[in-house]
């Protein structure tokens, strides 16, 4: 018996078709993976299931009866809970207030009963083996990974029949991602349905019983997970053979020092980092999340206060604000962690976003030289193959991968030749990932010096020339050449004594 059965589901946004006759069905007791490139319609589909969007035509049956959710409440009362990629959490409420928001246990006076709320929270954490999180912390003081875990708790608090995990692992460190996979299995074993969305093939392999593949808003295939190869899945997702996900690594490193760092410390999360980055080199940064990677990139970019010596192209610098770090060919540019919050102005156009940080270059006596600006924008859109109808299209309407390309373009236009990349492929579909890896190698070949942090180990192994492994804020190991393997990075990240 199918727990959920979706037939011929369609949804348009203005002229854009997000879903076109999509079908989907899944049973209680399974983990069902939903795969597809960004823009394939997965997010729209999930939003419809969870009541955040209404559909145009088609039919959804849940537990045999017709389901036409008008709002998120209706979905919840039918036992459908989604862990959203764009979190549904309230920054000014605490962990437990968020988990039980609108379902708080109440006293006789209609006020929240804190004692029962705390007990219920601890029971929930215990039942699903949650990582340690204090229930009384306010959300806005927490990291993305911690908030992601609260979001999962919030979904589970509704004791759903259907749990939807929309790229929930992408914000999690390795150990917590692993926990989430186990949790997914636990849900299935309890006779419930877990719908699992991820761009990481390894995770899908580890957890899914069956998988459905979306492309361009339609369902292209349904498979038993065991009966299908990775290659076939990827081919079906992108609709063509993927030449190669990872580009050929050609040595482009010169002996010229681009960035020399000695004894760099920042707060208590980054201690005494010493390393060098050469022209034409891709230097990977690895380690478990929260071990100083963010602090390292922020300190280098001048966005966090730091101590230590730093030389850029041989000249001593102490960047004290991002503006200082940005200036000109001798500067540093950053692809930030959170492209929606820090990198882009979503309602603004592609061209405005691209030229935002270099706008001074086009001004003549306070007026903008529109032609020069348009020319540069066109070059950048072509170079990066940004898929936008026009440069005037708002960035918020592009897919995640294309948004990330705009961030890259913005960074490249600063002309800085030392680039800091913070997990640039997070939430990016597999086709665009390949393009980004090729771009990174191409830039290195042109003489850029690139510091590349990734939370996905295979990326470091296949793209970087050398890898710094951080553990507890210090550089635990520097791997180069054939030493760079997933096992070596992981053991240096976890163990006291690295190889």
């Amino acid at each position: 018996m199918e727990l959920i059965d979706v037939k011929d589901l369609s949804k348009r946004f203005g002229g854009i078709i997000a879903l076109s006759d999509a079908t989907f069905s899944a049973r209680a007791g399974e983990v069902h993976a939903l795969l597809g490139e960004n823009g394939a319609g997965k997010s729209t589909f999930i939003q419809i299931l969870s009541g955040a969007l209404r559909y145009d035509s088609g039919a959804i049956h849940v537990g045999g009866s017709e389901y036409r959710p008008q709002n998120p409440d209706a979905a919840q009362s039918l036992g459908i809970a989604a862990v959203f990629q764009e979190l549904s959490l309230i920054p000014d409420l605490t962990v437990e207030e968020n988990i039980w928001f609108r379902h708080e246990p109440l006293t006789w006076f209609g006020t929240t009963c804190r004692k029962r709320m705390r007990a219920a929270t601890l029971e929930l954490f215990d039942r699903y083996h949650f990582p340690a999180i204090r229930p009384d912390r306010e959300l806005r003081h927490m990291t993305l990974a911690e908030r992601q875990i609260v979001e999962i708790a919030k979904a589970l608090a509704k004791n759903p029949r259907i749990l939807i995990l929309d790229e929930a692992t992408s914000a999690l460190p390795a150990i917590e991602a692993d926990w989430l996979l186990k949790l997914s299995r636990q849900i299935a074993e309890e006779g419930r349905l877990s719908i699992f969305i991820s761009h990481r093939m390894g995770e899908v392999r580890a957890v899914a019983d069956r998988l459905t593949i979306f492309r361009n808003g339609s369902t292209v295939a349904v498979h038993e997970a065991k009966a299908v190869s990775d290659d076939q899945i990827v081919t079906e997702m992108i609709g063509r053979q993927l030449d190669r996900l990872y580009p050929v690594r050609t040595a482009s490193r010169t002996e010229r020092l681009a960035l020399e760092v000695r004894g760099l410390s920042s707060g208590h999360r980054l201690r005494d980092a010493t390393f060098a980055l050469y022209e034409g080199e891709v230097l990977g940064v690895g380690g478990l999340q929260g071990h100083g990677q963010r602090e390292l990139l922020q300190a280098l970019f001048g966005a966090a206060p730091s101590k230590g010596d730093m030389k850029l192209w041989g000249k001593p610098v102490s960047p004290s604000s991002p503006r200082d770090a940005l200036t000109g060919r001798d500067g540093i540019a950053l692809v930030p962690e959170d492209r929606r919050g820090q990198g882009l102005l979503l309602p603004k156009s592609v061209s405005e976003n691209l030229t935002l940080s270099v706008i001074r270059r086009f001004s003549r006596g306070g007026l903008l030289d529109k032609q020069q600006e348009a020319g540069l924008v066109r070059e950048m859109v072509d170079f990066l193959r940004i898929k936008a109808d026009t440069p005037d299209q708002p960035v918020g309407t592009l897919s995640g991968g294309n948004q990330q390309k705009v961030v890259f373009g913005k960074m490249l236009l600063t002309e800085a030749r030392v680039l800091l990349l913070y997990d640039p492929t997070r939430g990016v579909d597999v086709g665009t990932k390949g393009e980004i890896f090729r771009l990174i190698r191409d830039l290195a070949a042109k003489g850029y010096a690139i510091l590349f942090y990734s939370s996905d180990l295979p990326e470091l192994v296949h793209v970087a020339d050398r890898v710094l492994v951080l553990r507890e804020g210090a550089i635990a190991a520097t791997l180069s050449g054939d030493e760079i393997t997933e096992e070596a990075i992981l053991s240096a990240a976890v163990l006291d004594k690295a190889a």
Binding site: A52, N71, Q76, S88, F101, H141, I149, P173, E295
Partner: protein
Amino acid sequence: MTMAETGDAPRKGLRNGLLDNAPFLVACAMLTLIVVIYGTRQTGVFTLDELNLNTTAAMTLMLAATGQTIVLLRGGINLSIGGMISLGTVIVATRFGDSAGSVILWSGLVLLLGIAVGVANGLLISIFRLQPFLVTLATWSILNGVAMIILPSDGGRVPGWWLGFGYLQFLGLSSTVWMLIALLIFWAWFMAARPGITIKATGSNEKSAFLSGVSILRVNALTYGLSGFFAAAAALYLTTQTGAGSPTIGRDYILPSVAAAVIGGTSLFGGRGHLAGTIIGAYILTLIGNLVFILRVSSYWQPVASGVILLIAVLASAIAEKAARKQAA
């Protein structure tokens, strides 16, 4: 191992707590300073009488600012408070008869009108997705105009017994101090109950609240409806002080109601704030007037002093915000 290690140490939790409440603490410090200066210049400052008197003087602003705080917490703003206060006083001054029945009837109608106008604000904002600033600017103008039509200039009358309300006493405390206590109890209850939590949550992040199943339409109707109710209550109370209606008096409360809330630590961006802070802010703004009088300087110094205090409050919250963000990074 990673999550547990990144968890907060208690000391950091305390620091976060102090930083979060920095604007409120600064407001308390400023109020203390003002009271101390006041006390060195004047005898009898630290008496119940003085508390009764100042609370009675500040109560209109407190009620208006309560209505404003609710809307600010939702991430909006309500300028129509001014129009509602003017219209309320005008209705009272032209319609109140001498009988208790007439007073109760028209008081009830004024409060209902406040709720209705507020709900209308909320519906306009959510159905047509308009800016709260513009919608309430428009309703302010409309209410103001209606007040002018009913009573073109200050005047009218109220029953004599209505006038003394603010000076009634019970157990040594004035009726207004009791009102204030009731307001704070109401607030403590409201913010622990679902409607209050929902307003705060929606102001903190509207999209998240929507995804959690909140009806934005209902939240806005509730928020602005309550705000209108408190504006109407402010109007009723104001007539017990002035004994007359005034079609223009409401504008004196629009910006001070925002200022009192902000001085007390309420964020203009929604999600953060507390009535206790707003009350402190209202006391500060009221006592500044007394202080200027006692120091025997020109009364034009009053707005200057209010402005400086507002700046200090805004700076305090900006600095605290920055420090908190630095720590989170």
